[in-house]
């Protein structure tokens, strides 16, 4: 058990430490990097808890997919003035107080339940890893092979699995991805890409880019520019 404790301490420290780093840093690229480390450490915690499949999925989908997407987004928008956007100190102080209170509440709640304290640990061998892939797959198909049947002679497949949720989530994912692809498409006045004739004056967008980015006129200019429906109607 000593290794379990040791690795738990290690991964927990990494996960919590980098989660705090995400909160504390103001550089958005660093934030994304710390988040990667935090979530990877979380995957380690899953492995420790015997959830190999979830751990792998965390690494593959969350860290390898979602966070890459996130960093992609950061890089697309990471202009000088947006990399560091600082928050007002008062807000920070308020958030820290609320957060601390929430943390104490949740932690104390966690230790209220005696069964959760880990006083009666199940023994396990480090050499063997749990075989959860098959049961999870069967559960997603509606078969719960992992639970003991209520009676000895009842067939194993009359208990509800997760087939409905699985279907819903699959359809949901499809719809969401199509929607996201549609949403990400933007519309904008002619930028220099379509400006074939170099002598033609630069479009509004270029003026926009040249303008002082912190000015409020930028916001208004971009809003008028990007509502073609109004100008067309």
């Amino acid at each position: 058990m000593i290794w379990h404790s040791f690795f738990f301490a290690l991964f927990a420290a990494l996960a919590c430490g980098f989660a705090l780093a995400v909160v504390l840093t103001s550089n958005v690229v660093r934030m994304a990097f710390y988040l990667v480390l935090s979530l990877s450490a979380t995957a380690g915690l899953y492995f420790l808890a015997g959830a190999d499949f979830v751990g792998s999925m965390q690494l593959m989908i969350y860290v390898g997919g979602t966070l890459v997407l996130l960093i992609f987004g950061v890089m697309l928008t990471a202009q000088e003035e947006f990399i560091r956007i600082s928050t007002r100190p008062a807000e920070v102080a308020l958030a820290a107080m609320v957060g601390l209170a929430l943390l104490i509440l949740l932690s104390s709640a966690a230790f209220r339940v005696p069964a959760w304290r880990g006083d009666t640990p199940a023994e396990r061998s480090l050499a063997l890893t749990p075989q959860t892939v098959g049961p999870i797959a069967m559960a997603l198909l509606g078969l719960r092979v992992d639970q003991a049947p209520p009676t000895a002679d009842s067939p194993p497949n009359d208990r509800p699995g997760y087939v409905l949720i699985f279907e819903i989530i699959s359809v949901h994912l499809l719809v969401v991805l199509v929607g996201a692809a549609y949403l990400a498409r933007g519309r904008i006045g002619a930028n220099s890409l379509v400006r074939q004739d170099p002598s033609q004056p630069a479009s509004d967008l270029d003026d926009l880019a040249d303008a002082d980015p912190s000015g409020s006129e930028l916001l208004e200019a971009s809003q008028t520019l990007d509502s073609p429906a109004e100008t067309g109607a």
């Binding site: 058990m1 000593i2 290794w3 550089n27 690229v29 660093r30 990097f33 990667v36 990877s40 190999d52 499949f53 751990g55 792998s56 999925m57 690494l59 593959m60 860290v63 390898g64 997919g65 966070l67 890459v68 997407l69 960093i71 992609f72 890089m75 990471a78 199940a122 023994e123 396990r124 061998s125 480090l126 050499a127 063997l128 890893t129 749990p130 075989q131 959860t132 892939v133 098959g134 049961p135 069967m138 078969l143 092979v145 992992d146 003991a148 194993p156």
Partner: protein
Amino acid sequence: MAVTLNRALDALTGWLVGSIGDDAACGYALAAILQAGMLLNLVAISGLVFIWLERKIAGRIQDRLGPTRTGGRFGWLQTIADGLKLLCKEDLMPGKADWLLFRLAPYIGLAASLSAFLALPFSGMPHPFVAQRLDVAVFFVLAVLGLEVFSVILAGYSSASKWSLFGAMREAAQVVSYEVPLGLCAVTPVMLAGSMDLVTIGDAQQGGFWNWYLLHSPFAFITFGVYFTCATASVNRAPFDLAEAESELVGGFHTEYSGLRWSLFFLAEYGSMMLVSLLAAILFLGGWHGVLPLGLGSGGWLEALLGTGIGGYLGALLGLVLLLTKGLLLVIFMMWARWSLPRLRIDQVMTTCLKYCTPIAAVCFLGATLWQASLPNGLLLRPYNAELLRAQAAGPVATPPADVLIVDTAGGRP
């Protein structure tokens, strides 16, 4: 292997320290260090060999000799000499770079490349040479391999160079896209073996090349082709090496790197090349089993001759050699492609992935499934051994013998 090694080491340390801990803590620590060291050496040495091999192959393809001076007439020591040179080079960092990310990025890539080897078996039952046998080994390897992209993205971003940024953007788009068909292709052997455990998958293909999943069905054959294409793309090898396209982006993501950090990127790249090749060998090419039934495994002539102990280990060792040979051949194929083909354009790379590889992989998966279902004993709908699973999950009550794991979920194939 871990358990056997652990027992031996625990006895050794116990003898040295004078008492045997009930937790076997020292043994596990030593076993872990030893195994990590072995894998590290494997990657490092194979990196050295591959770089030499790449130069030699490139030379031969281009009507040259390649390295001939350092280390005899074949230039064996050329890579070591180059490595020493790189060690001595100044570690430069652009003034505007994000120092933390810039410094860390190469290590992330190397760590990801190395970690994926943790779950990769080098031999089958009864002595699976694997650092940590996982039930989800296939996905674990692919998932950890996918983390390598962070090193490229962060290196590209933190270099404060436009070329690096372009390389990073390309890499991000490319790797995330290619993980989809790569996973789809890897699912086909998983489906055929009925397990994500690489040891099980490898052992399901024993007994000659006609049992390899490559030759299982036409669909599986095509799947292998798609897998290898996508694997080449996901480890950034030509013709998909857009992130470092030297004719367009100077050096891509590693434009600003020099010296040791620069070489770490390449160590990671060669490690990943080896990894995807070994994975391909296990998933499709029979893994550690010979082209013809050699009888090296359990119940073979080797065990009959030398006994299950030494004979078994010797057989596993020979299996390891076989697996490495297969992996090496695939790596050489990648090198051959690199020195023969022009590079694709980024939009063509994405088209290849999204319009060709992904649909083909999906169709082949379906096809292979139907093919398997139409075989006489192919259907997977056997009574599921729930009791055994429960027993196993319950822990030490029904712990099977240490080195014999349940190959229960295997599909219809022998």
